[in-house]
């Protein structure tokens, strides 16, 4: 029963911080709320016994990606409230679109038929590093290798875009 309550608290907090990301006017605050959201999501992962993903989530998202965001915000000196008022029409439109999507998905969930769970011997250990590593380096070794192409491309692209040209300085 206590777990139930724990879930509701965690879930409520997650949604709350996520909403704050969207609603807060100050970009830096948004970033910080997002970091908080990621921590809460990680907590959810731990509750689901997916420790590895929980750790990676904190390292990659909260640690690397969000720091990058913060860094860019500071670099561009964007840490001020410069966003003008939204037109009410736009707000209502966005809210209706989002709400509609939510309702449709939740309605579909109500009589959802999931695939049969195939909990077998090592289901308790599914989220542990050892198990994931084994699957990753046997079954999914090719995607793993291929993702290096992705990183290479992203790296080259980022360098190409962010590098200052000589003529722009002159």
């Amino acid at each position: 029963m206590s777990l139930d309550i724990l879930f509701y608290i965690l879930g409520g907090l997650t949604i709350g911080t996520a909403l704050m990301v969207v609603l807060s006017k100050h970009p830096v605050r948004s970033v910080l709320y997002l970091v908080l959201t990621f921590f809460l999501i990680s907590a959810n992962y731990v509750m689901m016994n997916a420790q590895f993903i929980a750790i990676v989530n904190i390292i990659v998202y909260a640690g690397a990606i969000m720091v990058l965001f913060l860094f860019v915000l500071m670099l561009l000196n964007l840490n001020k409230e410069n966003e003008p008022k939204h037109s009410p029409l736009m707000t209502i439109g966005a809210a209706i679109a989002g709400g509609g999507l939510f309702l449709v998905v939740v309605a579909a969930m109500r009589d959802a038929i999931l695939a049969a769970p195939m909990i077998d011997t090592n289901s308790q250990q599914v989220g542990l590093v050892e198990n994931l590593g084994k699957v990753l380096f046997t079954k999914y070794v090719l995607p793993f290798e291929v993702s290096s192409v992705l990183f290479l491309a992203a790296m080259v692209g980022a360098v190409l875009l962010a590098k200052r040209e000589k003529q722009t300085i002159e």
Binding site: M1, D4, F7, G11, I15, A18, L19, V21, V22, P27, L34, F38, I41, N44, M47, M48, N49, A50, F52, I53, N57, Y61, I65, L68, F69, V72, L73, L75, L76, L78, E83, P84, H86, M90, A95, A97, G98, G99, L101, F102, V105, M109, A112, P117, M118, I119, N122, Q124, V126, G127, V135, L136, S147, F151, A154, M155, G157, A158, L161, T168
Partner: protein, 109 residues
């Protein structure tokens, strides 16, 4: 292993499905609502995280590692996307001194 018995103890997969959907919808709402490109990027990250949550929930439910590995790859891609997205923003900021997407309308007739 108290936590591992979660699914037997009352927190159902449905709860996570709703939570993930809510997070995703907040992300979508943010993309439609906000005008600052950097915050749009953050909202997209939020959407991806909602997907991750959903996948992990399914993966645990099925007792199968594939879903969690997919999450792993989504993180890889999210990192790459964030890098590229932020460098595009830096580039644009250099040209326009702003990240407000409403200013980017040079392409209209």
């Amino acid at each position: 292993m108290l936590l591992a018995t979660l699914f037997e103890s009352g927190v159902k997969i449905e709860h996570y499905m709703v939570l993930a959907t809510a997070l995703f919808v907040i992300g979508v709402f943010g993309v439609l609502y906000r005008k600052n490109a950097i915050i749009l990027l953050m909202c997209i990250e939020l959407m991806l995280n909602a997907v991750n949550l959903l996948l992990v929930a399914f993966s645990t439910y099925f007792g199968q590692a594939d879903g969690q590995l997919f999450v792993f790859f989504i993180m890889v891609v999210a990192a790459a996307e964030a890098t590229v997205g932020l460098s595009i923003l830096v580039l644009l900021y250099r040209n326009t001194r702003s990240t407000d997407i409403r200013l980017f309308n040079k392409l209209k007739n």
